[in-house]
């Protein structure tokens, strides 16, 4: 079955320049997103995981064109974002929706829930009455009572706010949703509600999700495929079961081992704990970004950047010494 590609990234780069010295003359670059290529098919949930500073959020912002890319192409639903005309861009804006981590921070505290949800529709030229009807509709989709339409954000709990944010994202009938840490600020029982809601919506509307999170349990639960980022590079990408059970990159393995397991009987399992901190994006050598923390490092790793190699169908890894089983 030929699957429709919804998001295609090709050699995507985002470098932030940093001026140094008294006269700000010497410039270095923080390579927040460095040469990332991946495709996301229609109706698929791809999880993007990495530690803080690995460039996950920058990648999302570049895809959304909220941050200008340095190099490479972003093709969403067949449209090259950088070459899109005004008309096409407007279409894209309604097709790609985004939900951020802190729901309280992206709802206007002075506006009611109703006007927050209606706002994007008004901007896109939907008549007011129709927008009001739609606002009711999307609120129902996120399983919230109509009475909340007149509430202000401070009157609602974190879980309710996140539902509102999702409702607003749904207002323009998007086909792609980018979810940046959608449950990180929530309690366990609320997190379960939001995850279930996201999965239900995805099935009903055949949405495509890019879920960004640092929580491995969440990502293993929700994703079809997992992409692992480390300091701006995509180090491993593949189907969830492959990544969870058969990780080939030492970083992925370290990340999986570090994640606490919800079973006290497993606490003495064999773990390969990573040492050190996730390095800095500024001081990076020519080789593999992970070389300073990697226990299998060789001379080659320090001097050459490993290429992506395919180790199993759909499973790629960028490492000179992929782990054996």
């Amino acid at each position: 079955m030929e699957e429709k590609v919804m998001i295609k990234l090709d050699g995507l780069k985002k470098y932030f320049s940093i001026s140094k010295g008294l006269l700000k003359k010497s410039t270095t670059f923080a390579k927040a997103v460095d040469d990332i290529s991946l495709t996301i098919n229609e109706g698929e949930i791809v999880g993007l995981v990495g530690e803080s500073g690995s460039g996950k959020t920058t990648l999302a912002r570049v895809i959304l064109n909220l941050t200008k890319k340095t190099e490479g192409t972003v093709i969403i639903d067949g449209i090259d974002v950088s070459k899109a005309s005004g008309e096409e861009m407007k279409k894209l804006r309604s097709e790609v929706a985004v939900v951020f981590q802190d729901p309280a921070a992206n709802l206007n505290p002075r506006q009611t829930v109703e006007s927050s949800i209606m706002r994007p529709m008004i901007i896109h030229g939907v008549p007011k009455e129709e927008a009001r009807q739609k606002a009711k509709g999307v609120l129902e989709m996120v399983k919230m009572d109509q009475r909340y339409l007149d509430s202000y954000p401070h009157q609602l709990s974190g879980g309710q706010l996140q539902r509102i944010a999702i409702a607003r994202a749904l207002a323009l009938n998007p086909r792609i949703m980018i979810l940046d840490e959608p449950t990180s600020a929530l309690d366990v029982s609320v997190q379960a509600q939001i995850l279930n809601l996201l999965l239900d919506l995805q099935e009903q509307l055949n949405l495509t999700y890019l879920v960004i999170t640092h929580d491995l349990n969440v990502i293993k639960y929700i994703s079809d495929r997992i992409a692992v980022m480390y300091l701006g590079r995509l180090v491993e990408f593949g189907p969830t079961s492959e990544i969870a059970n058969n990780a080939k990159h030492p970083y992925t393995r370290g990340l999986l081992d570090a994640a606490p397991v919800l079973d006290p009987n497993m606490r003495n399992r064999k773990k390969e704990l990573m040492t050190g901190d996730p390095g800095s994006l500024i001081k990076i050598g020519p080789g593999c970004r992970f070389c300073d923390r990697c226990r299998y490092v060789t001379e080659e790793c320090r001097t050459t950047m490993p290429e992506d190699t395919v180790v199993a169908p759909g499973h790629q890894v960028a490492c000179f010494h992929p782990l054996e089983d």
């Binding site: 639960y221 969830t240 606490p260 919800l262 006290p264 901190d277």
Partner: protein
Amino acid sequence: MSEELLRLENLSIDYKVKDGYLSAVNDVNCVVNKGEVFAIVGESGCGKSTVAHSIMNLLPGGNEEISGKIIFKGKDLRECTRQEMEAIRGKEIGMIFQNPLDSLNPVYKVGDQMAEAILLDKVDKQEAWNRVIKLFKDVKMPDAEERVNSFPHELSGGMRQRVMIAMMLSRNPELLIADEPTTALDVTIEAQILQIMKELKDKFNTAIMLITHNFGLVAEIADKIGIMYAGEMIESGDVFEIFAHPTHPYTQLLMQALPSKTKAEGRLKTIDGSVPRITEKKPGCRFANRCPYAKEICFNENPEAVFVGEGHYCRCHMVGKEEK
């Protein structure tokens, strides 16, 4: 074999609010033994941090009413004078918080801040400095000799938390209260900090009261667990026992709400409704309005903690009756 270190007896904390009392903590009982990790788990607002702060007498003061006993090494901390409490803080009970940056002075080098505490022991400066470096090595700080001269902003989140642990260690307390110590950290760093805490426990026989919302951490490190809901400790006991056989409906539901499988294996369980605001002492179980098994008695009578198994207590009307 296990020697009792801290015992909370019928601890209740009420806050005075406009419309009466807000019962933040109600009738909490627990025992932390020497060298043991006791984890208090619960969702936001369940009162877990309030319990931790009350032990150290760090509550804001003014509008709270505390009843019950906080017995540390046979002495009720609530009857201690301010001077006595000052001697206990740090020296006998150490505490680390979620955000180490809030606890570190931004304009002093971390080494100097630590030396300050050590100098209380009336040692000379060189000796204090050497001890700082040794402690930095104990918590596996990379480049310990150089890092002592760093300012807090120059360190990463994981390193700052290491400084806090080292600082706490410098006084060598018998009890460490860790309030969400790894919540702000990445998983790989969290694993390192956990490792350090485990080593502490083994090396110095430090008891740890771990306050967290993360069941994963509990499974990794705790010996005993107490689950709190709306100010009450609804279940407590051995961590292996409770993970294998949770008895309180809230614990059961919460465990099933944790994503531990994949979506192919089905949706997560959710708990309907939300936590009630306890402004008056209403009768009845606080979880009753969300509990799928609630019966009439649950709304009328607050359940007592019943004995389920060895050291395993549960506050639920539905538990323990049928066996007896």
